[in-house]
């Protein structure tokens, strides 16, 4: 049996969690505390980030206390302390790493530094005990990439966005059309009453081989279509706005489905016994996109998996779990564990060069 305390503070949220695992059995999340950012920033629509390292540090103590209390355990009952060591805003990452070092040193426990993206990428094993190798579409926050996960330390990036992440594209679409934030649910709701073919959006990079994606050009297309509507109608009628949302959503869906088709084909070349395509992130909550990806999986004999949203947004349970996987491999860190603002999961992959170096922007 292995019990880990996990700490996460690389982005907007401060979080702590305790995960217990008996080999061969399903992992148990004994507690998963995320400091209440939404309440604190309700006046700002919940989008204001926690950028102050000091605030992270202050909250982290309470999160750890609460996570241990909810798990009914003391720190000495844990086998190690895992912490996000990057990538992220350096102030936040540092305060988490410092706190973890103090806890580990004080309790005489091993310290395990975890890559935040590895935490996301290993979540299907925490929630569904998925066997290696599996294919992952990681669409969390500002990220969007296909990862082939061969083991807890081997992630191959098959492709990803060369500019914006789709979640960001949804948010910015909402901003451009005067819809509320977060943009994903707002755009999806508006799109429901509309015709996705009323406005024709580009399908960036679809005509090129590979699994790279681009969503930045959709903003420009949307801007142009919106201004055309405004010029024509002297405003933005609700139905036209809904058509824009539906057309945009359809374009994102088509790109994600087609690029996923290619990623699945590459993955199936490995002949996995039980093929799994896991989609982690808010975009998996979009009905139209989810249906598209599910249909794709059904057609390729691949199991579609979308871990619960609360474990796809930033949380510390995934860090504790990734820590358990690393600890089992004998991978612990010393007191010299560094906080890293940049830390690609797959250091061997070619960088996803932006269109600036590739010639014409798709």
């Amino acid at each position: 049996m292995t019990i880990l305390l996990g700490l996460e503070s690389s982005c907007d949220d401060t979080a702590a969690a305790v995960v217990r695992h008996v080999e061969g059995q399903a992992p148990e999340i004994l507690s998963s505390v995320v400091a209440g950012q939404a309440e604190l920033h309700a006046a700002f629509g919940g989008v204001v980030p926690e950028i102050a390292a000091r605030a992270h540090a202050e909250k982290m103590d309470h999160c750890v206390e609460q996570a241990l209390a909810e798990a009914g355990l003391a720190l000495r009952d844990c086998d190690a302390v895992a912490v996000t060591a990057g990538p992220g805003l350096i102030g936040g990452v540092l305060s988490g790493v410092m706190c973890a070092k103090g806890l580990a040193l004080g309790a005489g426990l091993p310290l395990v530094g975890v890559n935040h993206l590895a935490g996301h990428a290993l979540t299907p094993r925490l929630t569904d005990m998925v066997a290696f190798p599996y294919l992952m579409l990681l669409v969390s926050g500002g990220h969007c990439q296909f990862l082939l996960v061969r083991c807890a330390t081997d992630f191959t990036r098959l492709g990803g966005t060369i500019d914006d992440a789709p979640g960001e594209a949804f948010d910015k679409t909402a901003r451009l059309l005067g819809l509320s934030q977060p943009g994903g649910p707002a755009v999806e709701a508006a799109a429901q009453s509309a015709d996705p073919s009323a406005v024709n959006f580009p399908r960036p990079l679809l005509d090129r081989p590979g699994m790279d994606m681009s969503f930045s050009g959709l903003k420009t297309a949307l801007l142009r279509e919106r201004d055309a509507v405004v010029t024509l109608h002297g405003g933005l009628p609700e139905q036209r706005r809904a058509d824009l949302c539906a057309g945009f959503q359809q374009a994102v869906r088509d790109v994600l489905v087609e690029k996923s088709r290619r990623a699945i084909a590459a993955y199936l070349d490995l002949a996995p016994a039980d093929p799994v395509f896991a989609v982690a992130g808010g975009v998996a909550a979009n009905g139209a996109i989810r249906e598209g990806l599910q249909a794709l999986c059904a057609g390729t004999g691949t199991r579609f998996l979308a871990p619960p949203l609360r474990l796809c947004t930033d949380n510390a349970a995934m860090i504790a779990w990734a820590g358990i996987e690393r600890l089992r491999l004998g991978l612990t860190d010393g007191m010299d564990l560094a906080a890293r603002p940049r830390w690609p999961l797959d250091t061997a992959a070619a960088p996803q060069l932006g269109s600036g170096k590739r010639g014409a922007k798709a």
Binding site: C11, I51, A53, L176, G354
Partner: protein, 162 residues
Amino acid sequence: MPAALRLSLPSPDATATLARSLAPALHAGDVLLLEGEIGAGKTHFARSLIQHLQGDRAEDVPSPTFTLVQTYETPGLEVWHADLYRLSHPDEVLELGLDEAFRSALCLVEWPDRLGPLAPPQALTLTFAVSGEQGRVLTVSGDPSRLARFQKAADPADAVAR
């Protein structure tokens, strides 16, 4: 010397070419405030510039909208790429350490209105506006000596000064 410089950028490629032409003329302590609506090309300009500075070791240049700040070590020059849209108070600029970076790095700042009184006086403001199908019009204003340096560096670009 005009108070402002207007450049016509007929395509995303023209924007990238301009960014590459400017790169050698930019130093630590230079601050470019990138203005313009969503989709106007602010990030495209910043990405082209950063990847050119990185040279053979070009890395991902993701949008900083979610992360607020992305920092890059390029040969001889540290680059900060910031998107301040999510900030609600200029004090948060200090928390991010941007005020220090304004002196020690090349800073590319999107949604710079959030800086309020912390906008550095030496900054150049680059305003991108959509023009036609693919084109943009870029207006550059700010510190006269830096503007002159900008204009000189921009000259070889495909962009047409008007």
